[in-house]
């Protein structure tokens, strides 16, 4: 067991330079002893993770929060409500407190919970000297519930009595690009007629709407209702929280991607000043692991109450009660197309079940509505959606976000249109492909869509695995056990396009700051970077080091956390934007440092130091006419104990006036990233077996600073998509057992192989911007930012679903796809 420190060793271990011959090894590397001498070159050499951290992971020495512990610590346990809606009438904790070894029991009113608002709400916590005693204490608590009628069907939320002072509809969006609409204006919420129409559509899914949109003859309309199951909450054993009382405050060790945000939330939940809470992010990258805010609060409360360190392991058995069978999102889609396959009109309606805390789902709704029609040219799009409040558990972060929802629905509809017209799905997609300047449903113009044809052809050119599979049965659908029969095998292929909105207009200002110092020691120049960005073990700090190396030409770069929690302010950053904002802040700070350090040589060359840059081992003027050797320049500039220090910050806003230092997209313009995936799926339709074989991914990766990271991010996106599309959970079974045993996630035998095509880099660097524009590429965002992992999830989910439909020969509209169910629409 390791005693926690505020600066765990892994951070230092990561500071090792990528090329060891270039620099002296930092002596303080705690993890260096685990570093192997790999005899063979690593294929993941470019992923920025290095060798020390992966070896520590493979040996089990990587310091996760779950591995922390001190003698005399207590174990926390938590009870979740078995009722979706109830009043807590009485609460007896005396018997629990009397148990030997129990140090604290808090239940119901002690936690400020007098009313249960959702299934699985935390109603009691206990701390004891052994996890089994903590559990026994919870079992000894008597809580008297007075169950009330719950609202669990999101479709009933519109007409039901309000279950909250804010009403049942938490958010509404309406976008239309109808001919008469000049600009997309969000309409006032709750238009009763539209709501009724939406409900009618949702309940009578797939029925040919009698009062559908008026269309000229000789066109087809395809109407389907899609249902998305609640994203599975992974049992987060790795999401352990370790809380240590620390003077007046409490120190929390847990996985956290955004410590600033989590610290603020924790302070609010505990009702204590932020200064008293110290959040030490522990490494973890598992993208699908939703960190549990309840667990953090419980551990912090118990540590503060008992004055002893508390460990809270998020056991999954009996953790969440039976999940709800209600789909978390329903989409009703109408696509109208001409006989030749040209799309004329798209109408979409969406209801998201936000559960008891629907505010978090608003971003999901917004993203869906803005991307709803997919990367296709559609003259008329009408999208509207609602987030409603119910007594279901709060929606876990949706994997892939609204972009994934939009891609799955849009691509399914494209295939349905093609089937209706007797065309291939590819034909219809290519015919309607979005071009630069086309409008999104919200009326914004897409800045660049020129790489789309290139991506589509790249995917089509890639090889397809041989069919039939085998001879090994483990390559057949169903693999070992119930194996598919050769004569019944069908292969399905699905091509899907997906897009992600990089800077949505509703984005509140996001800020990241960094500090860079350039100095020298006996081994030569060295740069120190101070950043609030967390390296979860996926090489985030390698990205920052790469940026600093590029700007300063210094091989040795040390990345460290800010000394004080508030030293480098940063706002909460949305998923996928952290690397961009922190990277830009570091780049700006490094450039400022470079200007300071090159001031003398600038004066010598009679050129402003801002116009000098480092290329290779020389300092070069912007036009390449003047140059000096970098070594000599730094030796002169860093003589003595010279330190050059600069701060950098980067802000992003979705809309508003343009200001220096803030990235704001031009009004009415949308920066969109694209990906095209092709999935190949084999199925045995009689046995209802399905096996994804291969996913081929073509991405516009913007600028690949650390190429291996991009490949890993795409692969992770495909893996999570395969889990989302093919994982099934039987709601009834889940009531009885833990979450994972019933989730039926695809195993290693059923996961597709991922073929990542060399990503198109639409943004090589800022200098080449003009040349790229001439080639038809977009005006790149600073640093060539693209959220690769999110878009990979969206594209892969859509492609896998399309391929599964193709293989099964049925237009399945429920996600996850249950191949053994019969019928056309389930």
């Amino acid at each position: 067991m390791t005693t926690p420190t505020s600066l765990p060793g892994f951070l230092i271990g990561e500071q090792l330079p990528e090329r060891s011959e270039d620099a002296a090894q930092p002596v303080e590397s705690e993890l260096a002893e685990y570093g192997p001498n790999l005899s063979e070159p690593s294929p993941a050499a470019g992923d920025g993770v290095g060798k020390v951290v992966p070896t520590a992971k493979a040996n089990g020495r990587y310091p996760y929060a779950a591995d922390l512990g001190v003698p005399g610590m207590l174990w926390a346990a938590m009870t979740r409500s078995p009722h979706p809606h109830a009043t807590i009438v009485g609460c007896d904790t005396e018997a629990a407190k009397a148990l030997p070894g129990v140090h604290a029991v808090l239940a119901g009113p002690d936690l400020g919970v007098n009313q249960v608002d959702y299934l699985g709400q935390c109603v009691a916590i206990a701390a004891a000297e052994h996890p089994a005693i903590a559990q026994a204490a919870l079992n000894a608590i008597t809580i008297d519930y007075q169950p009330q009628e719950p609202l669990t069907d999101p479709r009933q939320a519109f007409n039901a009595a309000p279950i909250h002072a804010d009403g049942n509809v938490a958010a509404h969006r309406f976008f239309s690009t109808a001919h008469d609409a000049t600009a997309a204006q969000p309409r006032k919420p709750s238009p009763s007629a539209r709501r009724a129409e939406a409900l009618q559509g949702l309940t009578g899914a797939n029925a040919q709407a009698a009062d559908g949109p008026e269309v000229p003859p000789r066109s087809v309309s395809v109407i389907h209702g899609y249902e998305f199951a609640r994203p599975a909450d992974w049992p987060a054993g790795p999401g352990t929280v370790f809380a240590v009382p620390h003077g007046d405050g409490v120190e929390i060790h847990t996985l956290s991607v955004d410590p600033g945000r989590d610290r603020r939330a924790l302070a609010a939940a505990l009702g204590r000043p932020e200064a008293e809470i110290r959040l030490v992010p522990a490494p973890f990258t598992g993208g699908s692991i939703a960190d549990d805010a309840d667990l953090r609060v419980a551990a912090a409360l118990l540590a503060a109450r008992t004055g002893r360190p508390v460990k809270a392991v998020d056991g999954s058995v009996g953790h969440w009660p039976a999940g709800t069978a209600e789909p978390a999102a329903r989409v009703h889609a109408i696509h109208v197309a001409d006989q030749d396959g040209t799309l004329r009109e798209v109408r979409l309606e969406l209801v998201i079940d936000g559960g008891a805390e629907p505010a978090a789902a608003e971003a999901l709704l917004d993203e869906y509505c803005r991307l709803a029609a997919g990367p296709y040219r559609v003259p008329k799009v009408e999208v509207q959606g609602w987030v409603v409040r119910t007594h279901n558990p709060p929606l876990a972060p949706w994997p892939g976000g609204g972009a994934a929802l939009a891609a799955v629905v849009a691509e399914a509809q494209m295939d349905a249109v093609a089937a209706e017209l007797g065309m291939t799905g590819l034909e219809v997609r290519v015919k309607n492909l979005m071009r630069t300047g086309d409008k999104l449903p919200d009326g914004r113009k897409v800045v660049a869509a020129d790489m789309l044809p290139e991506l589509v052809t790249a995917v089509l050119d890639a090889s397809v695995p041989p069919f039939p599979p085998g001879p090994d049965v483990r390559e057949f659908p169903g693999t070992v056990g119930r194996t598919g029969e050769m004569t019944r095998l069908r292969r399905g292929v699905g091509v899907a396009l997906a897009m992600v909105d990089l800077v949505p207009p509703g984005l509140a200002e996001e800020l990241a700051t960094a500090q860079v110092a350039l100095t020298s020691d006996v081994h030569g120049p060295i740069a120190h970077v101070s950043t609030a960005m967390v390296d979860t073990g996926a090489g985030q700090h390698a990205l920052l080091r790469r940026i600093v190396r590029e700007v300063l030409g210094v091989q040795r770069v040390l990345v460290r956390r800010p000394t004080a929690p508030g030293a480098l302010p940063a706002t909460p950053l949305a998923s996928g934007r952290a690397a961009w904002l922190h990277g830009m802040a570091v780049q700006r700070a490094a450039r400022a440092v470079r200007s300071q350090a090159l001031a003398a040589v600038g004066a010598e060359l009679a050129i402003s130091p801002e116009l000098l840059e480092v290329r290779g081992d020389r300092v070069v003027s912007y036009d390449g006419m003047l140059s000096r050797p970098l070594d000599a320049v730094y030796r002169a500039a860093l003589r003595g104990a010279a330190v050059y220090l600069a701060d950098g910050e980067f802000r992003v806003r979705g809309s508003g006036p343009a200001e220096p230092g803030v990235f704001v997209p031009e009004p009415g313009q949308a920066h969109v990233a694209f990906a095209v995936h092709r999935a190949v799926v084999d199925a045995d339709t009689e046995l209802g077996l399905i096996r994804p074989v291969r996913v081929t991914a073509a991405h516009d990766a913007g600028r690949a600073l650390v190429p291996g990271r991009i490949e890993a991010a795409i692969a992770a996106g495909v893996m999570s998509a395969a889990s989302a599309v093919f994982a099934d959970e039987a709601p009834a079974a889940r009531a009885e057992a833990g979450a994972l045993a019933c989730a039926q996630l695809p195993s290693a035998l059923d996961l597709p192989e991922v073929d990542v095509l060399p990503p198109i880099q639409s943004s090589i660097g800022e200098l080449e911007t003009t040349a790229l524009r001439r080639r038809g590429f977009s005006a790149p965002l600073p640093l060539g930012y693209q959220p690769v992992g999110r878009i990979a999830h969206a594209a892969a989910a859509a492609a896998l679903a399309c391929a599964a439909r193709d293989a099964l020969g049925a237009h399945r509209t429920a996600i996850p796809i249950r191949p053994w169910e019969t019928g056309r629409d389930r």
């Binding site: 005899s39 063979e40 070896t55 992971k57 089990g60 018997a95 058995v317 041989p466 692969a715």
Partner: protein, 244 residues
């Protein structure tokens, strides 16, 4: 880590899980003392609650934190250890039942230098979160011990009890191939050394037995694999026992 006031006077004779109940309120708190053999070293455990699983005892009482607690229900494979050479989910084994069994944890293969499997996993699967890697490493060591050159499908089958959601199976297949190559090379090196040492002894030694080609064709009469990369059901059986 002790539970003052809770542990009963558990019998200290190791190996025999005795119990002494302390009836305290609603819980019957029975403890046991026993001895586990972890990585070849005897590890006495005293005053452990009899309900503790092997995972808890290894991690929290003995400090073998390379055995990860992923799900606690035998689904994720993060807690895989080798029990008498067999990969076993430590969260499903009562600790007292593991007394007298040979237990191997990832720590054994980390010192003094990481072994071939750990190096290969680090090289190919280091980009993920890494929580599943120690367990996968134990699974792969067991696989390579019974099959020196496993096919891609055999590797996938071995990994099907491990939930990795960061990286696709190819990465682990590549890692296993690299580890298998490294082990084979190591074996060849050791053999060459032995040969050089005493030529005469080598002459005296009996040649290793070859598998009967008749037996092989009788068991696996199917069509051979169509491509070099295609997997092959006979592969692992042909090679089995090479590294025994």
């Amino acid at each position: 880590m002790s539970e003052p006031g809770l542990s009963g006077p558990g019998p200290e004779d190791s190996g025999t899980p005795g119990s002494a109940g302390v009836q305290s309120g609603a819980v019957a708190w029975a403890t046991a003392g026993f001895e586990l053999t972890v990585n070849g070293v005897a590890q006495p455990v005293s005053d452990a609650w009899i309900g503790e699983n092997l995972l808890f005892v290894l991690r929290e009482r003995l400090g073998f934190t390379a055995v990860k607690d992923g799900c606690g229900e035998g689904e994720c494979g993060a807690c895989t250890v080798l029990m008498d050479g067999q990969p076993t989910a430590a969260c499903l084994v009562p600790a007292v039942a593991a007394a007298g069994r040979e237990i191997e944890t990832p720590e054994l293969h980390a010192v003094p230098q990481p072994d071939a499997v750990a190096c290969a996993l680090a090289a190919h699967a280091g980009a993920g979160c890494g929580f599943c890697l120690p367990g996968i490493g134990m699974e792969l060591r067991a696989l390579l011990a019974r099959n020196a050159k496993p096919s891609a499908a055999a590797i996938r089958e071995a990994l099907s009890g491990h939930r990795c959601r960061c990286l696709p199976p190819e990465r682990f297949i590549a890692a296993t191939d690299q580890a298998a190559t490294a082990l084979a090379r190591e074996q060849a090196r050791v053999q060459a050394q032995a040969e050089a040492l005493t030529q005469a002894e080598l002459d005296a030694r009996a040649q290793p037995m070859r598998e009967s080609p008749v037996l092989k064709s009788a068991n696996y009469g199917r069509v051979p694999a169509q491509g070099a990369s295609r997997s092959h059901p006979t592969g692992e059986h042909e090679q089995s026992g090479v590294r025994a």
